[in-house]
């Protein structure tokens, strides 16, 4: 399915005023996050016109257009109104030439206007569209924010992800999503997760049913979305399996193009999972801040071994 944003939502979410086309805002859709500033097109060069993009008119474009003859203006603005062009957008509350309005009305092209300066508007809209148009994937798991670190709990159904999340919330951490986490890639290094809107703030606890975390624990207990820093995979304790004992294993799970660090925690009756996960989050943070307990310990061990080796050689001589 191709993601899109309707012009109606686009205008509403970005505080844009509708100048033309209130009645056909639903018919036009934005499919790409790129923005075009049609400078060369105003001169009549349409060979590479990016017709599927938002056409953004700033001071440069409007003042250049004003130097053209009315016929030239009507001609270029009409040419810009292709079937797939989503919208004309004007920045800084500039007054567009009347031929722009005329061409837009004739071709049912919405025209929106913003108070923001052009560069600012362009970056706000790019961020908004990148977020809205990003490819999404659903992952079975629970997403929590522990001390500001986004932790995705995964594992088979019934292993206790939701119960662990409940305990974490009780301990002052935040729930983002339970059961289904929708993820998208924000940039080269970041995967962001959020709840599908219907599941927002809800936890399903076996035996109790659906629990509204925001209602019971307050607004401090929930968060809308968070970058996923670490995946904690819960699995049943297998006495034959060997688990990472030193914290030196480098395991990853790839989501889209990003390798997200991953650790596996065995679940056994009597192990307090929420505290273990809390510590995992703190340890992960400490590592990112440059303090890796495993590395420090290994270096000290190397020194001790070296010392004992010297002593051994001393004994021989």
């Amino acid at each position: 399915m191709l993601n899109y944003v309707s012009i109606k939502n686009f205008a509403k979410d970005n505080d844009l005023t509708v100048l033309v086309g209130e009645e056909y805002l639903d018919n036009k859709r934005i499919y790409v996050s790129d923005i075009s500033r049609p400078g060369l097109e105003l001169t009549g060069y349409f060979d590479y016109y990016p017709h599927e993009r938002i056409q953004l008119f700033g001071m440069t474009e409007i003042s250049f257009a004003n130097q053209l003859t009315p016929d030239e203006r009507l001609n270029v603005f009409t040419k810009m109104c292709t079937e797939s062009t989503p919208v004309f957008l004007i920045s800084r509350d500039l007054t567009p030439p009347k031929e722009l309005i005329e061409a837009a009305e004739k071709n049912k092209m919405p025209v929106l206007i913003s108070k923001l300066p052009t560069t600012r508007l362009s970056s706000v809209i790019t961020d908004y569209l990148d977020y809205k148009l990003a490819e999404r994937q659903s992952i079975h798991g629970v997403l929590v924010d522990i001390y500001g670190t986004g932790i995705l709990l995964t594992g088979n159904s019934g292993i206790g992800k939701s119960e662990t999340a409940l305990e974490l919330v009780q301990r002052g951490h935040r729930l983002i999503a339970d059961d289904r986490v929708d993820v998208f890639q924000q940039d080269e290094k970041t995967i962001v997760g959020e709840a599908p809107s219907i599941l927002k703030h809800l936890l399903e606890i076996r035996g109790i049913g659906i629990v509204d975390v925001m209602n019971l624990f307050g607004v401090g207990a929930v968060r809308q979305s968070t970058p996923i820093s670490l995946i904690v995979n819960l699995e049943n304790w297998d006495p034959k399996a060997s688990y990472d004992r030193l914290g030196s294993a480098d395991d990853y799970q790839t989501i889209f193009d990003v390798d997200v660090p991953k650790m596996t925690i065995p679940v056994k009756v009597g192990r307090n999972l929420s505290i273990i996960i809390e510590v995992a989050a703190m340890n992960f943070r400490a590592k990112n801040l440059g303090f890796d307990a495993t590395k420090v310990f290994e270096n000290q061990l190397t020194e001790l071994i070296e010392q004992n080796k010297q002593d051994n050689q001393g004994d021989v001589n």
Binding site: K240, S242, R245, L246, S248, F297, E298, L301, T302, L304, I305, E306, Q307, N308, K309, Q310, D311, N312, Q313, V316
Partner: protein, 87 residues
């Protein structure tokens, strides 16, 4: 109780990685295993204990195993020692 002595020849001694493998091997058996070095002995199933000895190249250590599957455990530990190039 079964007991075997080793002279550690590996350059890095019993560092984190070989220690982990020795502990994993010992943990597979019910028998109680102990590693002794310079008068100190630690549980061979405890990773922090094993590493705390800081066994270096040229050290003499001994492994004692006590329990029903002691013989099998000692053989497995022996095999790990050799495979990891410790002795």
């Amino acid at each position: 109780m079964e007991k075997r002595d080793y002279h550690i020849t590996s350059e890095t001694g019993i560092h984190a990685r070989p220690a982990t493998l020795l502990v994993q091997t010992a943990s597979k058996f019910d028998a109680k295993s102990t590693l002794a070095y310079q008068g100190k002995s630690v549980d061979l199933k405890s990773i922090m204990g094993v590493m705390s000895l800081g066994v270096g190249q040229g050290s003499d250590v001994s492994v004692s195993v006590d329990g029903d599957d002691a013989a099998a455990a000692l053989d497995a530990i022996d095999e790990t020692m050799k495979k990891e190039g410790l002795v």
